[in-house]
């Protein structure tokens, strides 16, 4: 029997340039999931968009055919008339986009947007459509479908919106669902639940699914077959267990080697020494007062509650948490960029044994001195370098601000720092926009190093990067830390990334540190339900270690649903109790 969708020799290009998608072949049958894997610029998104003919205006379909359907209705999607392809879009093939925040119309109720599919394709009356939509809402896990039907997108969280998007894609019971990085913008626990939901829906309806992703972990959990793409070419394709079990192509091997993993058989590690602390956060709280709108009283939002962290010299302390957990606020407070509440103390010792300085009450001169010693590496390599400055200007700017050296000395220092981060000093005369994300992240690390700091705060330095680049940047950071004797405060949302670089991990949730231990100990013996959920939700690029959805559900919900020992409400949390040497958990004794 012919597969449901058969893509043959597909080529797409822009202008007169060589094709960005070249000779791509794959096919999907009903009930099967195909994963298109690749890094940014690999052409995976263009490939899946060409199926629905929603390519950017300047893109040309140069070659190939996309056969879709069964029996009589089988047709080449690339040559169908506009009217016919409209009948297929949303009806027989539907799509889920990456950004749940942007793919729903903010001015329409969720229910109206979802039922539009049915009124368009099925000629249904509003009442019938609503009945179907409510059933779908229930199926995708909305606790109160009626309420979701009336809600506007801004009333929902990212995960809920992605559920609504899935409902919209599923409501017409399509034969094929194309999901373009459906969970990339979501937190890891939400991602696990959304992936689980998609899998269930597919089992129930028997539809085919094309999953576009850069995450081998997601592939291992979802896919039956895999197509690995690089620079528009298919590197390797085949059944998922075979490709994931023993990658055949060099590129696939490289992707595998780079994929961050939670160690398989962790052993508990020794606690960190408690002396010679370079940075100490003592009882740090941060409360924002938010205007509630109208005449209502102002609301207080607790970004950090009673955070105590100790970073020994030369070590890496990681703060891990999902969006809104207060981890970035912690980092900003540690650098003095944010003023914490009364009673919080942030202590910094530039030299071993020196008298600590309290970062919150520095004079102007002391602050300048502190800024020389503590630098930050930012998340987004695309926005952390000014497009108007040449690499040299960007790298020498910190020295100009602090009036270090003369022109030549600054230039030499910049060149030296470029070599440290593995780049060629010839780059000094170029502009940052000529470079890729990974190269720019190296540049911004080099910029942070030009002042010879002793403390580096890394705010998700790898989360905007491709997997293979992420791996290189992490190795680079490790090499620099050991080579220059730096200490890192490392902020991340990804436990697996942290597993390799950190000496100690603090897991934060809604402003509260719930568990703290060296990473090996944490993986060996996670105690807190939330930590367990984070670990369970981490997709591993190993078909034999699927996501444990039950574990995720136990820990990822509200803190009121946790077992008695850990339960708390609001900010009224129990203390952080030391249960083993170097292993602290927030629980009732």
């Amino acid at each position: 029997m012919a597969p449901l969708l058969d893509v043959k020799n597909l080529s797409i290009g822009f202008g007169s340039a060589p094709p960005v998608v070249a000779g791509v072949n794959f096919s999907v049958s009903s009930g099967e999931t195909l994963a298109l894997v690749g890094e940014s610029g690999s052409g995976k998104t263009l490939t899946c968009r060409s199926i629905l003919r929603i390519l950017p205006k300047t893109a040309q379909l140069r070659q190939g055919e996309v056969m879709f359907g069964t029996g009589e209705a089988r047709a080449n999607l690339l040559t169908l008339s506009q009217r016919d392809i409209r009948d297929i879009r949303g009806n027989r093939i539907s799509m889920i986009f990456q950004e749940p925040m942007r793919s729903l119309s903010p001015l329409h109720r969720i229910g109206n947007q979802v039922s539009e599919v049915l009124t368009l394709h099925r000629d249904m009356s509003a009442d019938e459509a609503k009945r179907d939509v409510l059933a779908t809402f229930e199926r995708v896990g909305f606790a109160d479908p009626e309420r979701a039907f009336r809600a506007y997108p801004f009333e929902m969280s990212g995960g809920m919106r992605q559920r609504a998007m899935i409902a919209m894609a599923m409501v017409a019971k399509p034969d094929l669902l194309i999901a373009d990085e459906p969970t990339t913008a979501l937190d890891v626990t939400t991602q696990a639940q959304v992936l689980g939901l998609m899998k269930d829906l597919q089992r129930d309806t028997g539809m085919a699914m094309i999953l576009v992703t850069h995450d081998l972990g997601v592939v291992a959990n979802m896919a039956d077959s895999v197509v690995v793409m690089n620079k528009g070419h298919v590197m390797e394709s085949g059944p998922a267990p075979a490709v994931l079990g023993a990658p055949g192509h060099g590129y696939t091997k490289k992707l595998f080697a780079a994929a961050p993993m939670i160690p398989k058989d962790p052993t508990p590690a020794d606690p960190l020494p408690d002396k010679d602390l370079i940075l100490e956060l003592n009882n740090v709280c941060k409360t924002y007062t938010v205007r509630a709108g109208g005449w209502r009283a102002k609301k207080q939002v607790h970004a950090c509650v009673d955070v105590n962290l100790k970073l020994p010299r030369g070590k890496t302390l990681a703060v891990v948490g999902e969006s809104g957990s207060g981890k970035t606020t912690c980092a900003r407070i540690a650098l003095g960029a944010e003023v914490p509440d009364e009673g919080s103390r942030v202590l910094f010792r530039a030299e071993p044994g020196a008298e600590p300085v309290c970062i919150n009450d520095l004079s102007r001169a002391e602050k300048v001195a502190f800024q020389r010693q503590a630098q930050m590496v930012f998340q987004d390599p695309y926005s952390s370098l000014s497009p108007r400055m040449r690499v040299q200007e960007a790298l020498t700017e910190p020295m100009e601000i602090h009036r270090i050296g003369d022109r030549m000395a600054r230039r030499d220092k910049a060149a030296e720092m470029l070599r440290w981060v593995g780049l060629d000093p010839d780059m000094l005369a170029r502009y940052p926009h000529a470079f890729s994300g990974g190269q720019r992240q190296r540049l911004s690390i080099a910029r942070a190093l030009t002042l010879d700091p002793v403390l580096l705060v890394c705010d998700e330095p790898t989360s905007a990067l491709d997997v293979s680049v992420q791996e290189q940047i992490l190795s680079l950071l490790e090499r620099i830390r050991d080579g220059m004797g730096l200490s890192y405060l490392f902020i991340s949302h990804d436990l697996a990334v942290v597993a390799r670089i950190a000496d100690e991990v603090a897991v934060m949730r809604q402003g509260v540190v719930v568990e703290q231990a060296p990473p090996e100990t944490l993986f060996y013996n996670p105690r807190h339900p939330y930590t367990k959920a984070l670990i369970a939700a981490q997709p591993e690029p190993d078909v034999h270690r699927p996501i444990d959805l039950a574990e995720v559900a136990r820990g990822a919900g509200s803190s009121c649903s946790w077992p008695d020992m850990y339960r708390f409400e609001g900010v009224d949390a129990p203390d952080l109790i030391q249960i083993d040497p170097g292993h602290k958990v927030r629980c009732h004794v």
Binding site: E236, M376, S384, R388, I401
Partner: protein
């Protein structure tokens, strides 16, 4: 291409896992911002043509006296309300180069109107680089050469003449000197105020922002035309045309800055969140440095585009004021002053060419708008 026994496809092309770390990924982006903007702007045909046109127009300003056959206030009493004259090349099927036919005017006492009779038997060739009335080249050097002028005994009124017998074409080219520059001076004033207040409000936020915003709102709520009128009425009537001109442009600038300040403020607010600005702050850069080195260069192009788009408003403002007789006054010549003569409906009906100065206004305003549009579209060369 090879297929393994388990149905797997593997690409055979040689693959080198080691990439050159320092190779630029997009070498086309390795250029200063203005080069990237220019590359993109070049493709915007309408904007490019408008830009070239405006450039030529501004370059012609110092040569106004050379281009025009007459000086702006030169009267020919025998040729009041002369209709536009055609410049011909062929006389009775024979090519004899550019020439005009002489005209003789007489008063039609029945309709109270000037009528001119063209003597089509005597072609009179135009003279080039001829000596006529003295003018000042570059506003400084006395000169008396004109690009072209009428031979003795004939006139050359391409766009006709006005009620005092002055050549409309010459007056338009002299008028450009004031009408085109009023926008530049006004925009400079408005730029300085707008950037200053907008930057302060956007960068510091808080109460500063509040005060600036309220000031903008108050200024914006004032009815514009009466305010112009009041301010221009305050200009002493014994001042010379040049001082009046400066005052008018400054008044226009003073009233125009709120719009620009708002644009600057909102751009600042969004740029302030960019990580390179945060990075500079965390390096210890002072606010003035952050504004100068990071914020201003990054939105200068936006400013230039919005300035380009607001010059037309200034030109129109000057025209409106002068049209109402409250801006520049004779003997100064601007397009608005010329239109002042065309206020009378009857005179437009009988002598429609007195309204010709509208044409350069329309063309220049459109050109500025096209240019501004083109600039705005090519401002962000980093997004594809």
């Amino acid at each position: 291409m090879s297929t393994l026994p388990d149905g797997r496809f593997i690409d055979d092309a040689p693959y080198d896992p080691n990439v050159d770390l320092s190779a630029p990924e997009r070498s086309d982006m390795d250029a200063p911002n203005w080069v990237l903007v220019w590359r993109k702007f070049r493709k915007h045909k309408l904007g490019l043509i408008s830009g070239i046109f405006l450039l030529l127009a501004y370059m012609a300003i110092p040569f106004a006296g050379f281009i025009s056959p007459y000086t702006p206030n030169e009267r020919s009493a025998d040729h009041l309300y002369h209709p536009p004259q055609a410049i011909n090349f062929w006389h009775e099927g024979e090519f004899i180069g550019p020439f005009v036919y002489p005209t003789v005017g007489s008063a039609d006492l029945e309709n109270f109107q000037w009528v001119y009779e063209t003597d089509t038997t005597r072609p009179m060739p135009l003279q080039f680089f001829c000596k006529r009335t003295e003018y000042k080249l570059f506003f400084l050097i006395p000169a008396d050469r004109h690009l072209f002028c009428a031979p003795e005994g004939a006139t050359v009124f391409i766009f006709g003449s006005d009620r005092l017998g002055r050549d409309v074409f010459s007056r338009i080219s002299y008028g450009a000197q004031l009408s085109l520059t009023v926008g530049l001076i006004g925009i400079t004033v408005s730029f300085i105020l707008g950037i200053g207040f907008g930057a302060i409000a956007g960068y510091f936020g808080g109460w500063v922002d509040w005060v600036v915003n309220r000031a903008i709102e108050i200024l914006r709520s004032l009815p514009e035309l009466p305010l112009w009128l009041a301010l221009s009425a305050a200009v002493p009537s014994n001042w010379g045309p040049v001082s009046v001109f400066f005052i008018i442009s400054i008044i226009l600038g003073l009233l125009d800055w709120p719009g620009l300040a708002r644009a600057v403020r909102s751009k600042f607010l969004s740029l302030r969140e960019e990580e390179y600005v945060r990075a500079a702050e965390m390096m210890g850069a002072k606010p003035s440095r952050v504004i100068r080195r990071h914020l201003l260069p990054n939105f200068m192009s936006h400013l230039i585009a919005s300035a380009t788009l607001s010059i037309p408003a200034m030109i129109l403002g000057e025209t409106a004021l002068s049209f109402l007789g409250l801006g520049l006054r004779a003997p100064a010549v601007s397009w608005g002053v010329m239109l002042n003569d065309a206020q009378n409906l009857a005179s437009i009906e009988i002598y429609p060419w007195t309204a010709i100065p509208m044409l350069p206004i329309i063309i220049v305003v459109l050109a500025f708008n096209f240019l501004g549009d083109g600039l705005r579209d090519s401002l962000d060369p980093y997004s594809d």
